[in-house]
Point group: D2
Chain length 132, copies 4
């Protein structure tokens, strides 16, 4: 079995508009809330139309040296100009960017997975340490 992992695309976000960018501290204090921002198209904007858009970003955390991965959040961007009058005539567009707030008690890796409705799954990751 090859697995869905082979279908999750990776790329340098400075060159590829689908790659999620994870913004958070390199090290955090255990049990203290911190902000994580994940966005798509930071260098090259991704389209946001009824026919082509980023549907969601899911964030996971894998603690260093452990077996199982946790989910941090699943963030859906629902407005893409849909309307009774026709595509891209509607009053609402939601941009592919989210800021969440989280706490960690162990070091590990944050994984962000995004889904473009026509260009599929993309991912990026960032290590995070626990400050001494």
């Amino acid at each position: 079995m090859s697995g869905i992992g082979e279908r999750i695309q990776q790329a340098d976000w400075k060159k590829e508009k689908h790659a999620p960018v994870i913004h958070c501290p390199d090290a955090v204090v255990a049990g203290q809330a911190f902000e994580i921002k994940v966005n798509i198209g930071e260098e090259i904007a991704h389209p946001n139309t009824t026919e082509h858009h980023i549907s969601y970003i899911t964030v996971f955390f894998h603690p260093e040296g452990e077996k199982f991965t946790y989910q941090v959040g699943h963030f859906e961007f629902s407005g893409h100009g849909e309307a009774v009058a026709g595509p891209n005539q509607g009053p609402v567009y939601t941009e592919p960017s989210v800021v969440a707030m989280m706490k960690l008690s162990k070091p590990g890796t944050l994984h962000a997975v995004s889904f473009c409705n026509i260009h599929g799954l993309w991912e990026s990751e960032k290590e995070i340490k626990i400050a001494a």
Copy 2:
């Protein structure tokens, strides 16, 4: 039919920890991206444990004078200390707060609905104008 609307609770967020608080400008420029922050427990913190937590916030927009409501986003907070070692032993907690980015071309009302896994559905709303 009474409807689910009767089950969506409303309260003053300064007195009730479940009521979502919507932070956004009172007026925005048509087609220009702006931030919306929605959080729970701004005045009185809500618990965040494996057994009791805020599962998600969904944001809707109803254009003034129109018939249909649009969805802006659905934001799930997935980490609540779950772990193989037992409840509240896990390394990840996601706080019930989200910042999204959106564009509007019409005035209307933003609605935020949140769900506590044991205290059910809660809502709040905020009018938003289009700046001249």
Copy 3:
């Protein structure tokens, strides 16, 4: 505050293609798994195109005489013919129908809420008893 409840539309599913139809037993045995099917467009089919489709159905349960409502499930239909080649050229369509499996230990009301990306929120409900 008027509330999102006023924006959740109700209609007879035999005449209105958006109204969800809830199929489940009228009475179930406490703690015994049973199937619930919820679908849209049972009598009059709803379109399923890139520009116009049912995005999801959420199911809630309110125990008779209690204060808080529980969520049973949230079921998203993601395929609507989207493709790089253009709208409605893609290989996947997901129909607005779901069968889930659940257990209850109290009587109450099942609520189904569906969202059409251009015609907004719709709901229906069905009482369910616990068999003696």
Copy 4:
């Protein structure tokens, strides 16, 4: 970058209770609706408690020989006995099983990914042909 793919676990569902089982025809008629059932714990039941449960199943489709993957659906199981009275005292349990209805116009691979709140991500896949 190692990628989230390395964290998505694979196993024989006859021996491992987390592995999703995909039930659908081996071949379908192009453009004709068919049922797909995905469930967890078909041979060995998975726990369903407030502290330990299957949160969701997401289904993807990758058309044979193509570059991008599509999402079919995302199905969340929300009831796990949560209650004000304490964990596992609530009236609702949602079992990790879903039946959806879909159409395909190309052959390819269906991927199911499930998430256990303490044992992480699991996947399985099934090839599907277009009947002549």
